[in-house]
């Protein structure tokens, strides 16, 4: 079969594919400049990006890969392997709700049902108004005073459904 009908296209430039804003791009470059030289830098770099931007944008993957001399597959593999990293912009507040045994023993399952019903979302989802993102956590190390959750990385213990409502100010 002849290949003469195929025109050779110019190589794809990363910049053309990227939907990143200039500020996002600057934040990523800043993280790479600070942490890119660490031995085994990928996790610290991804944490840095997520801390700065709230998530690891899909378009950050090729930039990180290039800077760390990794393949895009390797970077994507790491982003998708670890539960902590997310590729989508989260809501204004992120709730990590503990699902583990010690919280189950003191009403964790009932709290989980209440949280999902009140917010109207399941795990890994964001409320329609963009206020809350709900993530599961498997233990927050607060096992003698559960049920526990992290809200914007602030730990809360003995969270009854009523306390959850007070914390969030959400009315079902």
């Amino acid at each position: 079969m002849s290949t003469s009908t195929f025109e050779r296209k110019p190589p794809i430039k990363l910049a053309e594919l990227s939907n990143l804003s200039a500020a996002q791009r600057a934040a990523i470059d800043d993280v790479l400049a600070r942490l890119g030289q660490l031995p085994g830098a990928l996790l610290p770099v991804l944490h840095g990006i997520q801390r700065a931007l709230g998530h690891v944008p899909k378009d950050a993957v090729p930039i990180v890969a290039k800077a760390l001399n990794l393949s895009r597959a390797e970077v994507h593999g790491v982003v998708s392997f670890y539960h902590w990293y997310r590729s989508e912009q989260p809501g204004e507040h992120v709730i990590h709700l503990c699902r583990a045994e010690a919280c189950q023993a003191v009403g964790g399952r009932a709290l989980e049902a209440h949280v999902k019903a009140t917010l109207g979302i399941d795990f890994h989802e964001t409320t329609a108004d963009g206020r809350y993102t709900l993530e599961p956590a498997y233990c927050l190390g607060n096992c003698a005073t559960g049920p526990s959750l992290l809200i914007d990385m602030q730990l809360k213990g003995r969270v009854t459904p009523e306390r959850f409502d007070r914390l969030t100010g959400v009315v079902a």
Binding site: L43, Y138, C139, C143, A144, G146
Partner: protein, 531 residues
């Protein structure tokens, strides 16, 4: 007038129950009343049902009040700081929960300001390292071996043997920035993912210099100049405390290129995990530190021979490393004199879940489960009878009342297919549905499997499905046989402890609480206890 010293913990459990608000209220109230106070953010004593536990220094000792809400603060001042009050528990050191413990590793917990090097040294800190600096590496390793210290992460492998292997293995060139041509590493596993455990967190937040000292001693012992603390990202407060402490130790010359003028080098860095339970497995943790997915490695080679970046690596749990300073300070013999059989020293037990007096109980091995659950724990928080306890985290068996006289001892537990693990005890009352718990164990394994080996990756999902059918009464006899067969495959065929131990909670639930898996008794049970 001399100012009054007031302590409010910065431990995350205390903060989760309002300690920051209490601290702010105390500052405001003191200013309003014109009372001079010095507010110290100490760590937690581990009496978590009393958190936030406010302490006031008096001539009689530190008087505790708890649990204190921000709205109680005015009345504390009105009564007089250190005076009688309905929330007073008296002198904290005299509290029976504390007084009857054998605190070696947690000797400073709740007493000191966790990030004050002065406080640390005033309470016996860095004496172990000072001794170690004058010793030959082989002698440090020998002291750890003689103490009988075993890995506190769960596997209970003798720490001294691991260290000896690394000492005897020449360093390698890892080909990464900042490393030596003959590099070795000390890695601390602070990926405390087991539900029902918080001892690692308490050390990292409450006595971080202890961990730093333990790792520095390990470095001297095996000839490693670099260490990493792999901390789970669910512990943001611990990250702050560790980094503050590392910076202070660097400033004061307890870390760095010339430790206390000895010419010895040790550098330490905190690395955050990213929410993968499997990274608590040592080889997956090393992969993660190298910037890869947390996939379990085949062994051999052991990490002691080829660990981080291919270099000889000591990888130990937080509590293991935090037990080292006291061994070097007071001697191997002192540590070894605690405990029973081959389980030497003490174990910080964590009482969690549905328990009245939850918290940290450090006792010598040999203490019975009953003693821990009732004398310390005071039974359940709900006031209902204890039905089952899960010891050793999500991969540990559910233990019924009939085994509560079991002494805390690695071998005694193993004999009954139970596991001491990291010393977490999660209590459940009689409303627990053991079939639901068994199913969760499989669900957890499915969510957290690294996917490298089939029994774990596929077996866990199939396990959930079989339990669902069993509970629905769909050919129950066949389903039970299938579930047992599946568990057998996972136990024997998995690459690491995740798939290899997830069947323990499942089988123990099935063996000790078979009625919970039968549809007839389930519906009757549901009616009885109003689930």
């Amino acid at each position: 007038m001399k100012s009054i010293t007031v302590y409010v913990p910065r431990d995350s459990t205390a903060v989760s129950l309002g300690a920051d608000e209490v601290a702010a209220a105390i500052t405001t109230e003191a200013a309003k009343r014109g009372i001079a106070i010095e507010l110290i953010r100490n760590s937690s004593r581990g009496l978590f049902w009393l958190e936030p536990l406010v302490e006031v220094a008096t001539t009689a000792g530190r008087i505790g009040y708890g649990p204190v809400d921000a709205t109680d603060v005015a009345s504390l001042f009105a009564a007089g700081l250190g005076a009688a009050h309905p929330l007073s528990i008296g002198v904290v050191d005299e509290h029976p929960y504390l007084k009857t413990q054998e605190r070696l590793t947690f000797a400073r917990a709740g007493i000191t300001d966790p990030v004050s090097l002065t406080d640390y040294r005033a309470h016996g800190g860095y004496r172990g390292l000072s001794n170690a600096l004058a010793m030959a590496p082989a002698d440090i390793v020998a002291a750890v071996t003689d103490s009988g210290l075993r890995g506190r992460g769960g596997a209970a492998f003798p720490a001294g043997i691991k260290w000896k292997t690394v000492l005897g293995t020449p360093g390698a060139a890892p080909g990464v920035a900042g490393a030596d041509a003959a590099q070795k590493y000390i890695v601390c596993n602070a990926d405390e993912g087991d539900s029902g455990t918080f001892a690692d967190r308490m050390v990292c937040e409450g006595d971080p210099f202890l961990l730093i000292e333990g790792m520095t001693i390990a470095g001297l012992a095996v000839g490693a100049t670099r260490g990493y603390i792999y901390l789970r990202c669910e512990y943001p407060y611990a990250e702050v405390a560790l980094n503050e402490a590392i910076a202070a130790a660097m400033r004061e010359g307890w870390l760095g290129d010339d430790i206390c003028g000895s010419g010895k080098r040790f550098h330490l860095e905190v690395r955050m995990g990213a929410g993968a339970y499997i990274c608590g497995e040592e080889t997956a943790l090393l992969e993660s530190l190298e910037g890869k997915r947390g996939m379990v490695r085949f062994k051999p080679p052991l990490p002691a021979i080829k660990g981080l970046f291919g270099c000889p690596t000591v990888i130990n749990n937080v509590i293991t490393l935090a037990s080292v300073p006291v061994i070097l300070d007071k001697g191997a013999e002192h540590y070894k004199n605690f405990g029973v059989g081959r389980s030497r020293g003490t174990l910080p037990v964590q009482l969690a879940g549905n328990v009245k007096f939850g918290g940290l109980v450090e006792k010598a091995f040999g203490v019975t489960l009953r003693n821990l659950l009732y004398t310390y724990g005071g039974g359940t928080l709900s006031g209902r009878p204890i039905r089952a306890v899960q010891v050793g985290g999500p991969l540990g068996s559910y233990i019924p009342e009939s085994q509560f006289d079991l002494p805390l001892d690695y071998e005694a537990y193993a004999k009954l297919n139970n596991m001491v693990g990291h010393g977490g005890i999660t209590v459940f009352d009689d409303t627990v549905d053991m079939a639901e718990q068994a199913r969760f164990s499989m669900e957890f394994c499915a969510a957290e499997s690294c996917g490298k080996c089939t029994p774990c990756r596929i077996g866990s999902t199939r396990g959930m499905e079989v339990i669902d059918r069993l509970v629905a009464g769909d050919e129950a006899v066949k389903q039970e046989a299938l579930l047992r067969d599946l568990c057998d495959t996972m136990l024997a065929g998995s690459l690491c402890a995740l798939g290899g131990m997830a069947p323990f909670p499942v089988l123990s639930a099935l063996n000790h609480f078979p009625d919970d898996f039968r549809p007839q008794s389930r519906s009757a049970g549901l009616a009885n206890i109003n689930r």
